[in-house]
């Protein structure tokens, strides 16, 4: 198993463990790219706190910074690392135990 996937999944889950960072990601997902100042209007925390969280999210690869208007940095959601975490969750959610239980019941009923 490549270490990369482990590292990516760990960063994603660490980022998502914090409610403020989840709120920032949710805001970027619903409204599109935004600056720290714009996010501060929608979220009940200071612009400085948002900027700190954005820097951490950028280091984890979950957002990318790009030049915005008036030399403000705008942040854009980057979903690739989340898809890696999603694959981890998909493996846990694939419920073969209940599916095979249903298959056994089906075969027994028809007997």
């Amino acid at each position: 198993m490549p270490d990369d996937i482990e590292a990516i999944a760990e960063q994603v889950f660490a980022a998502l463990a914090d409610p403020t960072r989840r709120a920032i990601l949710a805001a970027l997902a619903s409204r599109g790219p935004a600056t720290a100042t714009e996010l501060a209007v929608d979220l009940p925390i200071t612009r400085q706190a948002i900027a700190k969280h954005l820097a951490l999210l950028a280091a984890a690869g979950l957002v990318t910074a790009e030049p915005g208007e008036r030399r403000r940095v705008r942040y854009r959601l980057r979903s690739a690392p989340m898809q890696v975490a999603q694959q981890f969750l998909a493996a846990l959610a694939r419920d073969w135990d209940s599916a095979l239980g249903a298959l056994t019941d089906h075969l027994d009923r028809g007997a």
Binding site: D4, V63, Q87, L100
Partner: protein, 144 residues
């Protein structure tokens, strides 16, 4: 944290492989125990589709192996990823006669596929560096 790439289950059922095969590979069988509605074109490369009404979820499958009545394999998308995402897991059912019934094994593999962008690690490290620096710049500008 170990990333599960492979899920394997074996069950013993008190029915012959032919009967289990029909439950796995016909629209009538699949819709009776797996999804609520099913269609299947049973040949390698054929399409199959299953719908779960309650969840409002549809799975598009591609039939890969058909060796009646011992091996049935298909690929399908990874739950939660966009419908057009190229990553898919492979599911293979193996049927073996055992104790007047069938030993049925299902193996699903491919959950830990390397995403395309990990291949560009060097490039990524570079953009991540920029992201960090721009983040610091943002903090600086915002403070001003």
């Amino acid at each position: 944290m170990a990333f599960p790439d492979r899920i394997e289950r074996t069950v013993q059922v008190a029915h012959p492989p032919e009967k289990v095969w029909a439950a796995l590979t016909t629209a009538e069988g699949l819709s009776a125990w797996f999804g609520n509605e099913a269609t299947i074109d049973l040949r390698p490369g054929g399409s199959a589709r299953m719908t779960w009404n309650e969840e409002g979820f549809t799975a598009e499958m591609r039939v890969e192996r058909v060796e009646e009545p011992t091996v049935f394999g298909f690929t399908w998308g990874i739950y939660g990823l966009p419908q057009d995402d190229p990553r898919r897991t492979y599911v293979e059912f193996t049927l073996e006669p055992a104790d007047a019934g069938t030993r049925l094994t299902v193996v699903e593999t491919g959950f830990a596929q390397l995403p395309d962008d990990v291949h560009h690690k060097a490039y990524e490290g570079n953009t991540d560096g920029w992201a960090k620096e721009l983040g610091e710049l943002a903090v600086y500008l915002d403070a001003g």
